[in-house]
Assembly symmetry: D2
Homo-oligomer: 149 residues x 4
């Protein structure tokens, strides 16, 4: 199915910020009783899957999103309870090219006060799993739109 570039642009502009609530699990804690720094990356990945799902984008067809770089600040300890993962796409203009950057936050709520415990920038590239070459966000979107079209 062919889609005009005008419609594609509209589609793209409408990406939403997505919130995901997760329960901290006992195994997420390190020997100090705080969520371990590696586990926070698991939370972020859950957030990005939730973002893909909200936008009807598949994780694993021929073109696969792959994490290329992460910058993450850990500003507060995360204790047992519930966390909120916020995921949004950054840098709209450049994102039509070979990589996108997600801005993600992990929020905790202690005594009714919401605080950011970690914030990250996650650079994602798109790999053609057959040819093993880089593809663009637009290629990734097209592949998904065609399936649902």
């Amino acid at each position: 199915m062919q889609i005009s570039s005008e419609i594609k642009a509209n589609y793209y502009m409408n990406f939403e910020t997505v919130n995901l609530k997760l329960q901290v699990r006992p195994n997420d804690l390190d020997s100090l009783g705080h969520v371990n720094n590696a586990i926070v990356l698991e939370y972020l990945e859950a957030g990005r899957w939730s973002w893909l799902e909200r936008h009807n984008l598949a994780r694993g067809k021929r073109i696969i999103p792959v994490v290329a770089r992460i910058e993450i600040n850990y500003s507060r300890e995360i204790l047992p309870g519930e966390v909120n993962i916020i995921t949004k796409l950054m840098d709209v203009e450049e994102n039509y090219h070979y990589q996108v950057i997600f801005h993600q936050f992990v929020e905790t709520c202690q005594d009714g006060i919401v605080k950011v415990a970690a914030d990250a920038r996650v650079k994602v590239a798109f790999i053609d799993s057959v040819e093993r070459t880089l593809r663009t966000l637009q290629d990734f979107l097209d592949e998904n739109t065609q399936q649902h079209g």
Copy 2:
């Protein structure tokens, strides 16, 4: 604070079955796209923590509950989505002694149909973390009741 054995028995008889809903996370999946068998034990542990919390029991004071044995049947694959962990205490009579057995289930819901994906019996002993000796469930309950009393 002294508690009569009558009250203790009542307290004990009222243990509830506790349900916990958890999101499956991307890192829980193995290379087949199903939740890995080891991760299911993490779900069960989250269920037992939830059970302790519901009954106002601490996880880590001087007397610590420790897993001594697990028997688990994996009857269905668990896919991305939400799982429900059901935790109840078995074998009331014998449980006043040196170990208790939890009966736990992991349920999934696909297309509105709830199915048991795994069921387990988890034997828990109580260790005195200072003397490193075995203690009874009653000792564990007493320690917790005294704190709140």
Copy 3:
């Protein structure tokens, strides 16, 4: 390629006990500083992969080994350091049928003394990933032998 049942039987009888050394990782520890009970199942899975590899058996072709049941006893705490995972196939006679049982041990070494920290019986079934039916160990071996033959 056809293999006579005599050769198949010989092949089968020669399964070895396989040892795998693993480093305990910081994230394996719970808030008490011991290896968590769910992580021990990860160690066992690493042991079974090592066992398959030693016998030139693939993990994921059409017929896939799937864990159906685990019984595990946790007899000692596992601390940071190295563990040894021992994996052997049990119950030779019955194992030609629809499931096999692995007997596995996790050993630690403290001050030069080797101790069993956990022992498990892991029941594995063989699933045809296309037809989603049960297959036998012999089917699984045949598929692998044909590839290498």
Copy 4:
């Protein structure tokens, strides 16, 4: 025990680059069969523990090293096998202050060729676990030296 600043400086200058070999475990793999990006942070943490151990530094006394920020590039997929984690301290001069930066690499070896699969800069701060204030690297070293002195 008092240590002159001259000796402290020598001690500090002698920090070594530390290598740690780890086995990739089945549970480290995502649904594509590659080591997941969050797991790579577990490898790095194992590398830093190994670095501390080599220098006779404790992980958890009163002053605790805490990860404040990570920048990581994922340049190649990591497959089942063995990885090598290289850990070294960066930025010697500034490191006497309130945080240090570790430079870490994850190397894989395929067909005899060593390749860097990930490289990271990990910023670590030192927290006084009683007063919950920031401390310096020197405070952390002093606490450890006093114990062994």
